[in-house]
């Protein structure tokens, strides 16, 4: 087995889903790759100067500009006739869904040949679990706390892959660290696309979601099996495939194992919310044809 391009010794929490995602992505992309990352968990845990976990060239500038920085790398390499290098952006959901979305839209719009990978842990975890545009409906975060008047985040998760599809980028996919073969295949496919690609990877956060140590991969698997995290691919704007869910599990199986949803099983109104979340999962199953 080849040496991982993401070296051990990084400072991510024990049980963090993100390093698994990064290793799988780099494994698929290989050493002939340049990575741009925005500020976030990945950046601070992998590059405490003078150390670095990156065995490929890597650049970080700011929180909201990774897509623009990568665009500049791509244009410069094109000028130097070095077009055989894989270009990745790897960032979290805060920078992707919220603060960096303008730069991402520009990168998609201009058609740069870059795969943008979002490791999605559904909140601002680096700053201590604040709500992002990716936080799911009624999840508890430190800025959407539960209380007498609150059942957590009042809004559903932003549909970032649909935003990518709307830019007419040639390749858009969702992936999960619980499905490594599928994830690697999608990264490889994205790098063959003649233009920008977007891949959103489910990467559970042990501290932010609050689940049992050792359950990280299981959490990611449950998200897929409940149809809350459908695995699908769009090529040139057309849905070309979705991973079938053999035995669809009720959303409670996923939600009840996480501290961020604990209130839904106790508080008044929780049952209605659970029904709403179940309806979201059912809609996913229908929309993407997840069931046989």
């Amino acid at each position: 087995m080849q040496e991982s391009l993401f070296a051990p010794g990084h400072r991510a929490c024990a049980g963090c889903g993100m390093p698994t995602a990064i290793k799988l992505v780099l494994d698929a992309a290989g050493p002939n790759t340049i990575v741009t990352s925005p500020t976030g968990c990945l950046e601070v845990t992998s590059t405490p100067f003078p150390e670095s976990s990156w065995r490929v060239p890597w650049i970080h500038s700011l929180f909201e500009n990774a897509a623009a920085v990568a665009s500049g790398v791509e244009v410069a390499l094109k000028k130097f006739r070095k077009t055989d290098i894989n270009l990745l952006v790897i960032g979290g959901d805060g920078s992707t869904f919220d603060i960096g979305i303008g730069a991402i839209s520009g990168m998609f719009d201009r058609g740069h040949r870059i795969t943008y990978v979002c490791y999605d842990n559904e909140a601002y975890m680096n700053t201590g679990v604040q709500r992002s545009g990716s936080t799911p409906f009624c999840a508890k975060t430190t800025t959407t706390p539960t209380g007498k008047l609150s059942l957590g985040n009042p809004r559903p998760k932003k549909d970032m892959p649909a935003i990518a599809v709307a830019h007419k980028v040639p390749y858009v996919a969702t992936a999960s660290i619980a499905y490594p073969v599928d994830l690697r295949r999608k990264v490889k496919r994205s790098l063959k696309a003649d233009g920008p690609a977007y891949i959103q990877i489910s990467a559970p956060c042990i501290t932010g979601w609050s689940f049992e140590a050792g359950d990280t991969i299981e959490q990611a698997r449950l998200a897929v099996e409940t149809c809350l995290w459908p695995l699908y691919e769009y090529v040139d704007g057309v849905l070309v495939g979705a991973k079938k869910v053999r035995r669809k599990r009720p959303v409670e199986d996923y939600l009840k194992t996480q501290g961020r949803y604990k209130h839904l099983f106790k508080a008044e109104g929780g049952a209605e919310v659970l029904a709403q979340i179940q309806a979201m999962a059912d809609a996913n199953a229908e929309k993407f044809g997840l069931l046989d």
């Binding site: 950046e43 990156w54 490929v56 650049i59 520009g106």
Partner: protein, 392 residues
């Protein structure tokens, strides 16, 4: 051969002669004509570069970070709100020691919205770690362009720089200029060959984060490079003069300074008007001279001490205000002289805000106020010049 062209065209042509690999553009008045002309050069095959139409000024400078780290010579231009939007990126560029060159077209900052000239925008970016040089006229702005690449890209400097030119007054003026000779620029400006680039064959980490045990040393090294650039700017200025036959005096320049009692200190396009006013006043026997600041950061403190040692009164004229105190150059100059033997009174005027015209009569009025300081002492250390009471 001199040619009459618009200032923006002249700048675009100077940039073309420096052969940037990547140019990133976003429209904002009064900077837009520069990038329009650059896009024409690209469309006509006269400039072979990667050209990015970005989604904001924030992204224009950000994209140049990636391009520069990949080994490209880079260029962008902006003004006012665009520069303000770049604020976070400015510090990042200088901290990452990327030698990006940018034209900052000087314009007022909103609110109230104004598209006209003052220098509040660039002065606000004073501490961002960029070399700032101000042009008096279009020719100087043209000639600054290759000089800034040469200064910034020096391995001992590796610091970004901005060429500051007054919006409309210089960008939209049609005046005769001498274009740069491409061959001579090639001779003057070596190709950009950075030691470290983003390269899979030699993977490096760019933009790591630091804890308190390292951060100070990064800033120390950055400060030292800035200090070193003082000498480099002088050196490159002389070299430019040797190759192209046009010189501007390095860090500062002087005008009518022999026996000058009242000395005006300023920067930018207002200097043309000031020189005319000085000629008038000199013919009337008023001993007034000018110290022109070309390089504002790094601050040429030693050169200023030398130039100002014989003045009786110093009047700083500038197009910015630090709300709640005074104008930036005034503060900087007083600071530079405080521990020296120079005990000359210094007063300051904020003029030309939001594009208000500054004419010879205004300069004369400021000189008159300065002349009273010698006998009567300082009545007003700083004023916003000619506020109209009927508008208040």
């Amino acid at each position: 051969m001199m040619k009459v062209v618009e200032g923006s065209y002249a700048i675009a042509d100077a940039v073309r002669c420096c052969s940037p690999d990547v140019v990133s553009v976003y429209p904002i008045t009064p900077q837009t004509h520069i990038v329009e002309h650059l896009s024409e050069f690209v469309a006509d095959g006269k400039l072979d570069c990667g050209y990015i139409n970005v989604d904001s000024e924030f992204s224009s400078l950000s994209s140049l970070i990636g391009a520069s780290a990949a080994g490209a010579r880079t260029y962008t231009s902006t003004t006012s709100q665009g520069l303000a939007l770049m604020f976070e990126v400015l510090y990042n560029v200088s901290g990452m020691r990327l030698p990006i060159v940018m034209t900052t077209v000087n314009r007022a900052l909103s609110a109230p919205l104004s598209i006209w000239n003052d220098q509040q925008d660039a002065l606000g970016a004073r501490d961002s770690g960029w070399i700032q040089i101000y042009a008096e006229n279009v020719q100087e702005a043209i000639d600054l362009t290759p000089q800034l690449y040469k200064i910034s890209e020096d391995p001992k400097i590796l610091t970004p720089s901005m060429s500051c030119m007054d919006g409309f007054i210089l960008t939209h003026v049609y005046e005769p200029v001498e274009f740069l000779d491409e061959e001579k620029v090639r001779e003057f400006l070596p190709p950009f060959r950075p030691e470290y680039v983003l390269d899979p064959k030699n993977p490096k980490t760019f933009g790591a984060f630091t804890d308190p045990s390292w951060f100070t040393e990064f800033k120390y090294l950055q400060h030292q490079a800035m200090q070193r650039s003082l000498e480099k700017i002088e050196e490159v200025s002389k070299e430019f003069e040797e190759v192209f036959g046009r010189g501007y005096g390095g860090l500062i320049d002087t005008y009518a300074m022999e026996d000058a009692e009242i000395v005006l200190v300023t920067m930018g396009s207002i200097i043309g008007t000031i020189k005319e006013a000085i000629d008038e006043l000199r013919s009337e026997g008023v001993k007034v001279g000018l110290v022109k600041i070309r390089c504002y950061r790094p601050f040429p403190a030693e050169a200023l001490k030398k130039a100002l040692k014989d003045a009786n009164v110093i009047a700083v004229i500038e197009k910015d205000v630090s709300m709640g105190y005074e104008s930036a150059l005034l503060t900087d100059l007083k600071g530079a002289l405080y521990n020296s033997s120079i005990r000359t009174p210094i007063i300051g005027f904020a003029v030309g805000l939001g594009g208000r015209d500054v004419g010879i009569k205004h300069i004369r009025s400021m000189v008159e106020k300065a002349s009273k300081v010698k006998d009567a002492g300082i009545e007003s250390e700083f004023e916003i010049f000619e506020v109209k009471p009927e508008c208040l």
